[in-house]
């Protein structure tokens, strides 16, 4: 579905990240994303970071031309969006532990508000923590981890997750964040015998499962994903190792 929406409110989450709220009459599930057109620059994928009836939001980290331009948008400005795309998280898999790393926290937030499950937000420093206010309101427990120890647990998301899993019972881990974090989350879940659902990222053009540019092995990240469970992740030989550029050439991570 394509639509033009009007921004109702812009919230500064931290020094480089803003949330844009708008009314959008579309059914969206936690974990889905939209394609956002920034006229004159680009069209880019953005997770839906909030779902409150008609009201939806996206939470954007300014890292390049399009996202910096988007940060100039104000209440009253209009955005052309299309979607929602992707499969979303399955919240019915028993006791959940939900993890957001960096701006990946945007993607998991609707799952936190819908399930109220235990949540970890991980970031580089206390300055990079986002959406902790929303999470604190809905999650049964909220734990923060920072790489430099400036807030909460001193260490990364996977280390904190291991600690929590040792203390309590979880059936499934839901996570979105940088691919290295997800790779180690996957390894840890395998080792601990817990199911997981990880939201992956790839270069996207159509977002609708048509153009094939986002494929990992035989799966379209935009349509068959972006959320993949343990069983599917095991078949993705490119997960954690490589992605593809705009031409479709394989680019190794390390």
């Amino acid at each position: 579905m394509t639509d033009v929406v009007t921004i109702k409110e812009v919230v500064q989450e931290c020094y480089d990240t803003k949330t844009f709220r708008f009314d959008w009459d579309a059914d969206a599930r936690p974990g889905q994303f939209i394609m956002v057109w920034i006229p004159g620059t680009d069209e880019i994928p953005m997770s839906i970071s909030g779902i409150d009836g008609m009201e939806k939001s996206i939470t954007v980290k300014a890292i390049g031309e399009a996202t910096r331009r988007l940060h100039e948008f104000k209440a009253g400005d209009r955005l052309r969006i299309r979607g929602p795309y992707g499969n979303g998280y399955d919240l019915s898999r028993g006791e959940l532990l939900i993890i957001g790393g960096g701006v990946g926290t945007a993607s998991i937030m609707p799952a936190v508000t819908a399930s109220g499950a235990d949540t970890i937000i991980a970031a580089r420093t206390h300055n990079d923590v986002i959406l902790d206010g929303v999470a604190a309101e809905h999650a049964r427990n909220l734990w923060i981890a920072t790489d430099d120890g400036s807030r909460g647990f001193h260490g990364n998301a996977v280390q904190l997750m291991r600690g929590k899993v040792a203390e309590r019972h979880y059936d499934c881990v839901i996570a979105c964040g940088p691919e290295v974090m997800l790779w180690f989350t996957y390894q840890a879940c395998k080792e601990l015998g817990i199911d997981c659902q990880l939201s992956l990222e790839r270069y996207m053009k159509c977002g609708a499962g048509v153009c094939g540019c986002c494929v990992m092995d035989d799966s379209r990240v935009c349509r068959d994903g972006p959320v993949f469970d343990m069983e599917k992740l095991a078949k993705l030989t490119e997960f954690g190792k490589s992605n593809r550029d705009a031409c479709g050439r394989t680019v190794k991570f390390r």
Binding site: P39, V215, G248
Partner: protein
């Protein structure tokens, strides 16, 4: 017993549905997935001599009845495409789609596709939004004839030419392919189109123009195949807006011996081939068609 088996000249397919160029055919594993989900063959993404990133985003949008896209032929280039072919070719029939600026480009690319094990090459003479390629070379019968002749003498596998509907001389172009020894024509590619966003007051696509595909183009495609059947003797492969067995049957009755499906892999899903195969068999059974050849062209008197 009805059979879905069909022959496109010297190529025999177990099933008549083929994945159209540009959808789920950029990587080896995705082509294998489509073969396993019921396609009789897969046409690769159109590949050129050099890696190409295509047009900038936005290059795609949904519209009523389909999609408008201006991907701009993104592809990793013929050299790297070897890796994808190595994965796909052992699993099924793969047709190598290629694009170039003239006879030399096409001949070189076709030779490589033959080396990689393609069962045929499909010449993209029809993309509506790539400067210097596609439709720009495919609407000139003399150029089409030169390209097809050059490729015919460069390879020994069958040569298919994919035609654009964006012309009033479709029959002449089809004849140019046939005269040059082309083994089949594929019709149609997308229709040149544009989308404007009123609230923003600008064309949506970065390239401004794109190509319309999906259900909306089906009647245009069926007409094109019907027209071509009246002038050509070589096999015709129908493509454009096929979503279910009825759509496929229309193309076959207009004169196609096989068909391709693109957009419906998005709108319906990757199981679209299995559904079409099942529906087509049931229809043929009920209406007394024992083979695709029996049904081909019946709409002509």
């Amino acid at each position: 017993m009805v059979s879905l088996k069909t022959d496109i000249g010297s190529i025999s397919l177990e099933k008549p549905g083929i994945v159209a160029s540009g959808i789920m055919d950029e990587t080896g594993p995705s082509m294998v997935r489509m073969i396993e989900s019921g396609a009789g063959a897969v046409v690769t993404k159109s590949v050129g001599l050099e890696p190409n990133a295509g047009h900038a985003n936005p290059c795609f949008t949904e519209v009523t009845g389909g999609y408008v896209n201006a991907m701009g032929l993104p592809n990793p280039g013929i050299e790297l495409f070897r890796e994808e072919m190595e994965v796909a070719v052992p699993k099924g029939r793969i047709v190598g789609s290629i694009y170039g600026a003239g006879p030399d480009d096409f001949s070189r690319l076709a030779g490589r596709m033959e080396d990689y094990g393609a069962c045929a090459v499909e010449l993209n003479l029809s993309c509506p939004h790539a400067k210097g390629y596609g439709m720009e070379v495919g609407t000139d019968p003399a150029m089409v004839k030169a390209i097809v002749s050059a490729v015919k003498s460069a390879v020994s596998i069958p040569v298919w030419a994919k035609l654009t509907p964006n012309t009033h001389i479709l029959g002449d172009i089809g004849m140019a392919v046939q005269d040059a020894g082309g083994d089949a024509v594929v019709a149609i590619n997308t229709l040149k189109a544009m989308v404007i966003c009123p609230e923003i007051g600008k064309p949506l696509l970065s390239n401004k123009f794109g190509g319309l595909s999906g259900a909306a183009v089906k009647p245009v495609g069926v007409r094109a195949v019907y027209d071509l059947r009246t002038v050509l003797d070589i096999p015709i492969i129908g493509v454009g807006g096929i979503e279910n067995w009825r759509d496929a049957a229309e193309y076959i009755m207009a004169g196609a011996c096989a068909f391709q499906v693109g957009s419906a892999i998005g709108t319906v899903g990757t199981d679209v081939f299995a559904r079409i195969n099942e529906g087509l068999s049931a229809f043929m059974e009920e209406y007394g068609y024992s083979s695709i050849a029996d049904m081909t062209g019946v709409a002509h008197d």
